[in-house]
């Protein structure tokens, strides 16, 4: 029926356990407004099936083999941004939840949830809601605030750099060595070395790799138009 087709939510279901996957798939298919368009047994398959079928909602087990549910969530959100992703975890795990939120997941629930909870979650994220277990929200916010503080601190350090040192940091983050940085900035390799040393000290890091990571995490590369 046309009206049905218009209101159907197309779902992808990814879980390594065949029995759970098949039973849940049948249970979801029994809901009048849900259609399971694809199933996957690991993370890579989930990403491929999502790209192929463009489901409206993807249910990803957090512990998927070959690319876990959180990474699969990230890849799916990158490739099919309008696909809503729900990460289904074996148990309440704050780190997994925070990672899932960072990956762009629209919902998180555990396997202790009921089938009704899951069906409601699918409908809710499809409507545009974000679903986080109420009992986990406090810890999630605390983690996000802490992360924000750490980023602020890193930004504060980056702000101590001179314009020249910032240029050096960007080139460093792009994988430049002393000679190529010297060439790019038309300075001597010795001067480049000195700049790099100053960058490391000001950022409070011990290696070029760490400095590059700070630059990446704080969007310096984008800011520099690189």
């Amino acid at each position: 029926m046309l009206t049905d087709a218009q209101t159907q939510v197309r779902v992808l279901l990814a879980d390594a356990h065949s029995l759970f996957r098949e039973a849940l798939s049948a249970a979801l298919a029994a809901e009048p407004d849900l259609t399971v368009v694809a199933v996957a047994r690991d993370g890579l398959e989930a990403v491929a099936e999502a790209a192929r079928y463009e489901p409206e909602v993807a249910l990803l087990d957090a512990d998927l083999p070959n690319c876990d549910g959180v990474r699969a969530a990230h890849l799916i959100k990158q490739r099919i941004p309008r696909c809503k992703v729900v990460v289904v975890a074996a148990e309440e795990d704050h780190e997994t939840l925070a990672d899932a939120v960072h990956a762009g997941a629209n919902g998180y629930l555990t396997k202790a949830s009921t089938l009704t909870d899951l069906v409601e979650a699918i409908r809710a994220v499809h409507r545009g809601d974000t679903l986080i277990p109420a009992g986990m929200l406090g810890e999630l916010l605390a983690r996000l605030i802490k992360l924000r503080r750490e980023q602020d601190e890193a930004l504060r350090r980056v702000s101590r750099l001179t314009p020249r040192e910032r240029e050096v940091l960007v080139l460093l983050a792009q994988g430049g060595d002393n000679d190529s940085i010297a060439q790019s900035l038309v300075i001597s390799p010795q001067t480049a070395r000195t700049h790099i040393q100053n960058v490391l000290v000001k950022l409070g890091v011990h290696s070029r790799l760490e400095a590059a990571a700070v630059a990446m995490q704080n969007g310096l590369l984008k800011a520099a138009g690189a």
Partner: protein
């Protein structure tokens, strides 16, 4: 079913009903599972091994001990051989993983209900046991006995009859008959005498160790 993952049990209910089974109840913890089993006395209990309050093996053992007419099956995400061994040693009817495809799951459950031992296909089936040396085979067979069945067996060895065993263990004669039948099946023997002989020959029980109720 005893499993703390409601999502799994909820999804499995229509599947089990579709197979013609009546689901008497679902428990989320070992404690709930034991209470539910006592109340409903089901033919079969499916137990997840990773329960919040006790191991699934311990729950299975407790149920088998109390309810000789009930079979216990592990239904779990765990696939390690050690867990399979523990479950079979505890007297479980079988061990199925959540990796089992649905049609095969249905087959295996039906086999279990017919009285067959059901183990993961990657594991050696129990009949391989007969090809191992006699002593190892006996140990494996005896390992399937529950503590209660061992008690009954030790009384059998003393030549005590069902009525007296029932009195000593403070259970009904019917329960004793079920225990004895289960012992015969597990040891692969046809009579009480053979069971007693098996027990003595392989030192499954110490002669004269039959405990009397305090």
């Amino acid at each position: 079913m005893v499993d703390d993952h409601a999502l799994f049990t909820d999804a499995m209910l229509p599947v089990l009903r579709g197979m013609g089974m009546e689901v008497l109840g679902v428990a989320r913890t070992g404690g709930e599972g034991l209470a539910l089993a006592r109340r409903e006395q089901p033919d079969l209990v499916m137990i997840d091994l990773g329960l919040p309050d006790m191991t699934g093996i311990a729950l299975g053992r407790a149920i088998l001990d109390e309810l000789p007419g009930t079979d216990v099956l592990a239904l779990t995400g765990r696939t390690d051989a050690q867990a399979v061994k523990e479950a079979m040693a505890a007297g479980f009817r079988g061990y199925l993983t959540k990796h089992t495809p649905l049609p095969k799951f249905a087959d295996r459950i039906r086999a279990a209900l017919r009285g067959e031992m059901v183990v993961p296909s990657r594991m050696p089936p129990p009949r391989v046991i007969t090809r191992t040396p006699e002593e190892e085979s006996a140990t494996l067979l005896a390992g399937q006995l529950t503590p209660r069945e061992r008690e009954v067996l030790s009384l059998l060895v003393e030549g005590i009859d069902n009525t007296e065993i029932a009195r000593r263990l403070a259970v009904s004669a019917n329960t004793v008959r079920t225990h004895v039948q289960s012992i015969l099946t597990k040891l692969g023997v046809r009579s009480r005498l053979q069971a007693a002989a098996f027990a003595v020959r392989h030192q499954v029980v110490e002669v004269g160790s039959g405990r009397r109720p305090a």
